[in-house]
């Protein structure tokens, strides 16, 4: 009996939270127009959310690409198809690993920082203080951060894929002796702009949207204590990871399910 009670209470709690989150999202979107009037707010956030994530994205992309080069070469060479290494590396990066891994890293690097920042602003009454000064914190604080996350994510994912392809090339042609011309020309011939690249970009846009939303909502909804903010930060990373991987499956099934 107790079990059902907890189950019911838990479900109800999740749905109320989803409801609060949706209202929050609507007010964020409504606040975006006022960000356009103050581009400076957006630029500052683009720097802290996007530019400061450059390093982790570049280094991770490089290593992921290098590992792909090694593993791909190992399998492809068994069938004598080393020349298609470029296709393999680029396809897996552009379609899957670029958007997904970059989004996971983004959630860990920028998402958690956003949650902690907003949560602490709430705990130190800064948000409440702005409201009492008749300044809407959603418009001034939340919306610029949301927009920054949403705009940065596709760019970071593209950077991740690009660096990864170079990493694969370094290992494949530099270390393992795949022909450089074949690496690039095969890639060029077999990668479809609409089918591969655009779909990858759509994925990263969706992930950027969902990660920024989760991170900001968890911060805004956090219990304003040290413990509450720490929990919210954890939830951001965990929930973002789940949403990214779950949505990735759905999107992949929709985009590539019929070929």
């Amino acid at each position: 009996m107790e079990f059902f009670r907890y189950l019911g209470a838990g479900t109800r709690e999740s749905f109320t939270k989803l409801g609060r989150g949706s209202f929050f999202l609507i007010s964020i979107l409504a606040g975006i127009s006022s960000v356009c009037v103050r581009p400076r707010l957006l630029l500052k956030q683009l720097h802290s959310v996007g530019v400061l994530s450059f390093l982790i994205i570049t280094i991770s992309g490089l290593f992921v690409g290098m590992v792909l080069g090694l593993q791909g070469f190992y399998i492809l060479s068994r069938f004598g198809a080393e020349e298609t290494l470029g296709v393999m590396v680029a396809t897996s990066l552009v379609r899957e690993l670029g958007p997904v891994v970059a989004a996971l890293l983004f959630a860990g690097r920028a998402g958690s920082a956003l949650t902690a920042e907003i949560g602490l602003m709430k705990a130190t009454e800064q948000l409440s203080g702005m409201e009492m000064m008749a300044i809407d914190p959603i418009k001034r604080i939340i919306s610029p951060r949301f927009l920054a996350g949403f705009l940065s994510m596709p760019l970071l994912a593209a950077l991740f894929s690009a660096v990864g392809i170079i990493g694969g090339q370094m290992v494949g042609t530099g270390l393992l002796g795949v022909d450089d011309g074949a690496y690039w020309s095969q890639m060029q011939a077999n990668l479809d702009f609409r089918g591969d690249i655009v779909n990858g970009v759509i994925k990263s846009i969706v992930f950027g949207f969902i990660t920024s939303w989760i991170a900001l909502f968890e911060g805004y909804d956090a219990i304003p204590t040290a413990e509450g903010v720490s929990r919210a930060t954890t939830r951001t990373v965990v929930n973002s990871a789940f949403s990214i991987l779950g949505l990735d499956f759905i999107l992949t099934a929709l985009m590539f399910g019929d070929n």
């Binding site: 602003m121 009454e125 800064q126 203080g129 409201e131 000064m133 008749a134």
Partner: protein, 296 residues
């Protein structure tokens, strides 16, 4: 002072306000009048919802019943932009100061002015320096909030609260956690701002001596009710046992030292259910008695 309870001269009127948080009734049918140009103090132990009252007056929280009128307008019936227009004329000083941590003192004070007006930067500069001069921190304009002491942060916040020349200021626990010197400075500031700018001030506090020294009128709250009101003299002479306990800081009295619990012996002898901690939202403030002890 005779016709104080009439609504004639009051800037803020709270009528039959009831506010609950979960199961707990924070306010149970209370009514208050805040007179124009006066310093009105709202006192009571921690956890009686004094801060909540300020947030209800500021329109951040909605009451279950009753009404709050500020300057003749019902705060909770206003549209969003009307409420914001009203809030520009209500300053609030938060306990923590609530300064924005990513900008320096000058920009913090300039922030509401820049947001709400289109004044040229030179005029904003003079305005901000005047406000900072009023709180004695003109020289600290380039410091960041994390470089300020608690008392200085509160004074900067005060400068920010008066930046838009409001008609009233709400002080949330202005004296808590201050050393004697900053406390003295704040008492002086609140008093002088009130007289020189003709502000109406609402002070929420549990610091008996400082509050009695500057307040014109005092309401004492407990358990969601107004249990005492009057001028500082009247409050000191109050026959209510409760008010006396609060004013003298006695550890036990009508307000019990112990948080409600079952029989002590019972509790020691029977281990019933496994210990289940309250969630942090429900947890009673643990410093409830520690703070009051200062006056005993």
């Amino acid at each position: 002072m005779d016709n104080f309870d009439s609504t004639q001269n009051s800037l803020v009127s709270v009528h039959n306000l009831t506010f609950s948080r979960g199961e707990k009734k924070i306010f149970d049918d209370i009514s208050l009048e805040i007179e124009r140009g006066k310093i009105t103090a709202i006192m009571g132990p921690s956890g009686t919802g004094k801060t909540t009252l300020l947030k209800v007056i500021g329109g951040q929280l909605f009451p279950a019943k009753g009404s709050v009128t500020v300057n003749g307008r019902n705060v909770h019936h206003l549209k969003r932009d009307e409420l914001y227009t009203l809030r520009k004329r209500m300053g609030m000083l938060f306990q923590s100061g609530a300064l924005l941590t990513d900008m320096n003192v000058f920009d913090n004070v300039a922030y509401p002015v820049r947001e709400h007006t289109h004044l040229p930067e030179s005029m904003i500069r003079s305005l901000v320096l005047m406000k900072l001069e009023a709180v004695g921190l003109r020289g600290a304009r380039d410091l960041m909030p994390n470089e300020l002491s608690g008392g200085m942060a509160r004074r900067v916040a005060l400068a920010r609260a008066i930046a838009l020349d409001p008609m009233m200021i709400m002080y949330d626990e202005p004296f808590t956690g201050q050393d004697p010197i900053s406390m003295g400075a704040l008492v002086l500031l609140i008093k002088s701002l009130n007289t020189t700018l003709g502000l109406t001030s609402i002070i929420v506090s549990h610091d008996v001596h400082e509050t009695l020294a500057i307040a014109d009128y005092i309401y004492v709250l407990s358990e969601g009710k107004v249990i005492g009101k009057g001028s500082p003299e009247e409050i000191k002479q109050s026959s209510s046992e409760w008010v006396q306990q609060f004013m003298n800081g006695a550890a036990d009295g009508p307000v019990h030292f112990h948080y409600p619990a079952k029989e002590y012996m019972d509790d020691l002898l029977h281990s019933d259910k496994p210990f289940k901690p309250l969630s942090s939202r429900q947890r009673p403030p643990s410093d409830r008695h520690a703070k009051r002890k200062r006056y005993s």
